[in-house]
């Protein structure tokens, strides 16, 4: 189980890379900014663009008493003059650290999380601060240490289990499916399992087939678990905290290529809702549903689309299981056209489930069949060109929207 993490430290998806047309991406003009109704693009001096999200991600959100997203909530950057900038993996660490300080029962277990600091540095420094038992370096035995996390959760602790790469959690499938998902039910509600299972997944940069897996499609059928995917430092920290505080077992999907995203997040404490989707860009013509890394491909395509005169509404669904049918439904009712852009495989992926859910619930509001862009049903090739073609690219998204809106 060697992981190729060293090289990834310097790669950011938003900087120049093969799959992006970097020129177009790095220089949004003032004109295009004013065309956007909401949201703010902040261009940094180091030419990295980060997005500050509006609404959907409400700031200062503690545990929400009601479900509905409050529209018109102010954007993060504009109201908080303070706030600090950090990278996504640092945001995850901050969330984790805050929760560990708040509740001594929160502990971390996984391979190389302790002394090594985590293969993606999410747990860096925590072992020195909290000790070797609270940030436990486990042997390479995913099935057993995930099971151990479950047993610990059943007996009062709140473990955060890290899969060094989500793909390794395939070895823990027995424990995740049978024990994590089912024990609360088969014990008649006697034992709760407040565990968080997290790790990086998704297609990286030529990591090879086995390190480029998207496990959300395999886990989505397991009853009794919740799945969320983070995509920005803001929602990464908020979802991490929410997942730890949740009484349910939560699987938090991170993406290998998003760890170095930079964003300014509030200084004040905030916790996001695990079940809600995030409105990234309100629009009128078409609803684009996406999550994790594909959000950025969609945002890039959106710039082209806006230039061509389209007005896409972009929603980061965030909650992969269960789906936030309210936010999604409202959007479908407004635009009547849906495009799903995901990194999962075509067969049986999150997009497939989402298509079914939307058809079931909002069929009457659709003016066109739902289009789902997913990765090809192909083991991710090593060669960069081939890898590029297995994953959805912004150009394909633009074409799909054009076809959908005819």
């Amino acid at each position: 189980m060697a992981t190729l993490f060293q090289g990834l430290g310097v790669v950011t998806p938003l900087s120049s890379s093969n799959s992006f047309d970097s020129n177009k991406f790095l220089l949004p003009s003032r004109r295009s900014l004013s065309e956007r109704k909401d949201g703010i693009f902040v261009v940094r001096s180091d030419a990295r663009v980060s997005q500050v999200m509006k609404t959907g991600a409400r700031k200062h959100e503690l545990l929400i008493p009601n479900a509905v997203a409050t529209k018109g909530g102010s954007s993060v950057a504009s109201t908080s003059k303070s706030g600090h900038e950090l990278l996504l993996f640092e945001a995850l660490r901050e969330g984790l650290e805050e929760e560990m300080e708040r509740d001594p029962c929160v502990c971390v277990m996984g391979e190389d999380v302790g002394h090594y600091g985590g293969s993606y540095k999410v747990t860096k420094g925590l072992a020195t601060k909290f000790g070797d038992l609270r940030v436990l370096d486990t042997p390479i035995a995913e099935n057993s240490f995930t099971g151990m996390g479950i047993g610990a959760a059943m007996t009062g602790l709140r473990p955060v289990v890290e899969g060094m790469n989500m793909g390794f959690l395939l070895l823990a499938f027995n424990q995740i499916s049978n024990n994590c998902g089912m024990l609360h039910y088969t014990s008649g509600g006697q034992f709760k399992i407040p565990i968080v299972i997290r790790g990086p997944g998704g297609v990286g940069r030529q990591l090879g087939a086995e390190h480029s897996q998207r496990l959300e499609s395999y886990f989505q059928s397991i009853p009794g678990i919740q799945m969320v995917a983070c995509s920005t430092p803001y929602n990464a920290k908020g979802l991490m905290k929410a997942a730890i505080r949740s009484e349910n077992p939560v699987i938090l999907f991170e993406h290998v290529l998003l760890y170095n995203l930079k964003e300014k997040i509030p200084d004040e404490e905030y916790v996001l809702s695990l079940e809600e989707a995030e409105m990234v860009r309100p629009g009128e013509h078409v609803t684009i549903l996406t999550y994790s890394r594909m959000r950025y491909h969609v945002m890039q395509a959106a710039k082209t689309l806006v230039n061509k005169g389209y007005d896409p509404e972009i929603i980061d669904i965030r909650s992969l299981k269960p789906f936030d049918l309210y936010t999604i439904g409202n959007s479908v009712k407004k635009t009547h056209r849906v495009l799903i852009v995901e990194e999962c495989m075509r067969t049986g992926g999150i997009g497939a489930s989402l298509t079914a859910a939307i058809t079931e619930n909002f069929h009457d509001y659709l003016d066109a069949p739902i289009v789902c862009l997913s990765s090809q049903d192909v083991p991710t090739p090593y060669a960069g060109t081939l890898e590029e073609w297995t994953v959805v690219q912004p150009a394909q998204i633009v074409t799909a929207v054009e076809q959908l809106c005819q």
Binding site: A67, V68, P104, C105, C107, G131, L133, R134, T138, P139, A141, N143, S144, F145, T146, G147, M148, G149, I150, G151, A152, A153, M154, T155, G156, L157, N174, Q175, N178, N179, L183, H184, Y185, T186, S187, G188, G189, Q190, F191, I193, P194, P223, G224, Q226, S246, E247, N248, L274, E275, E276, K321, P322, F323, D324, L325, Y326, T327, G329, N361, F362
Partner: protein, 426 residues
């Protein structure tokens, strides 16, 4: 160390003189099969290098010594003896009743009975405190009873009634009790062992991180010989020994995994030897003798409580019935079954208590009668209990039902009245 020809020295304790050492466990001696060429001759301690941190002990010598001493120095007191006897009788009667009820159509699915193995459950669990945890497999009815779960709760669970210990949602293979710290009940073999390791980890965590200085809860994990060829077993032996977790791994080696003989599936069938490979003591004990099991258990549990780490205990035992009530049990040699039937742990304890004047025949009969009534009452209770209502369908899927998500109307789906009725579609 030569692995091919184990050096066996002394025979077992004099109690079992009729079991000759020369005869292999497989009674099909003439039929060659693909499997281990080891003959199971469990005997005396192989004393490892004294510098080695782990010791391999065969308890028979220890117990032999104790027994040879004067009869005033017995292994148990009268009260303890009665408790043990009652517990084993409860286990046996309950399982016999289960079989009856199954054939009468009161319970369904896979039911795995524990007849013959009572000494292991009683020997270990009766030493534990209420806060200690027990993790079992699908053969868990008697572990539940020994740990203190009321017979009526277990029987209701088997009948699938709402008053069962898992509200009827678990069934035979998923007995849980938070109150008695019975952490399952698992259907797949070996999947409970990591959970047990986690419970032991919690105990250590409480002591060292949360600074609950008096927390010395021990976890006992029960599983079978088939499980000992599974990766999770070895992974957990490693982790438990590595972190010195307060856990005892108890192998109920009844020699058969459904129809697969232990000898046909295991390259080295002596499971206790696998403990020292991970740095913990491996002990072999006669699992048909509750007193011997209890002596070993005492040592292992105390070791864990003191923080010295895990122990691997292999109990040589036997199940009188098939693997489950659906198993025709045709593969096992009747001679083997007869051999072990002659070593029934309940008869052995009865004999011991009467011979050593710890109890009279009548007292023991009175216990048997009392247990009969308890089991009858449990059946009546289970019969009279209600089936789970529809509204129970969607409860307990999530500890926090917000996990069902937000519906199209903007409200959390769990607020939908159809949820409390159990008619909502999830």
């Amino acid at each position: 160390m030569s692995l091919s020809a184990p050096k066996f020295v002394q025979p077992l304790s004099p109690h079992h003189t009729h079991r000759s050492i020369g005869s292999p466990m497989s009674f099909h001696a003439s039929t060659p099969f693909l499997g281990s060429t080891h003959k199971l001759r469990f005997i005396a301690p192989i004393k490892l290098n004294p510098r080695s941190p782990s010791t391999v002990v065969s308890v028979s010598d220890v117990v032999k010594d104790k027994k040879r001493k004067s009869t005033t120095n017995l292994l148990i007191t009268k009260e303890e003896g009665l408790v043990l006897y009652e517990d084993m009788i409860l286990g046996r009667s309950f399982e016999d009743m289960c079989a009856q009820m199954y054939y009468r159509g009161k319970m369904f699915g896979f039911v795995h009975l524990y007849n013959g193995q009572e000494a292991v459950s009683t020997g270990f669990i009766k030493l534990l405190k209420k806060e200690d945890s027990v993790v079992s497999t699908y053969r868990d009815h008697v572990h539940a009873l020994s740990k203190g779960v009321p017979a009526r709760a277990v029987m209701s669970e088997l009948f699938g009634k709402a008053t069962g210990c898992s509200r009827g949602q678990g069934g035979s293979m998923h007995m849980f009790s938070k109150e008695h710290n019975l952490i399952g009940g698992f259907a797949f073999i070996a999947e409970g062992i990591p959970v047990a390791t986690g419970a032991a980890f919690s105990s250590k965590y409480r002591r060292e991180v949360l600074k609950e200085a008096d927390c010395d809860h021990v976890t006992v994990a029960f599983f079978g010989d088939g499980t000992c060829n599974n990766g999770q077993f070895y992974e957990c032996l490693n982790m438990a020994a590595l972190w010195k977790l307060p856990i005892v791994f108890v192998v109920e080696n009844n020699l058969w995994a459904i129809g697969m003989s232990h000898l046909r599936s295991t390259s080295d069938p002596e499971i206790w030897k696998k403990g020292p490979a991970f740095g913990m003591p491996g002990v072999h004990v006669d699992g048909m003798d509750v007193l011997k099991v209890r002596e070993v258990a005492k040592e292992a549990v105390e070791r864990a409580r003191r923080g010295e780490g895990p122990t691997l205990v292999e109990c040589e035992t036997y199940r009188f019935r098939g693997h489950s009530l659906a198993d025709p049990d045709e593969l096992r040699d009747p001679a083997e079954k007869a051999h072990y039937a002659g070593r029934d742990p309940i008869s052995a304890l009865k004999k011991y208590m009467i011979e050593n004047k710890l109890a009279s025949e009548q007292q023991l009969k009175a216990i048997e009668k009392k247990i009969d009534e308890v089991v009858e009452e449990a059946v009546e209770f289970a019969d009279a209990s209600p089936h789970p209502p529809r509204s129970q369908l969607l409860e307990n899927v999530f500890a926090d039902p917000k996990g069902f998500g937000i519906g199209p109307d903007g409200k959390y789906r769990c607020e939908d009245p159809k949820f409390t009725e159990g008619t909502a579609h999830v």
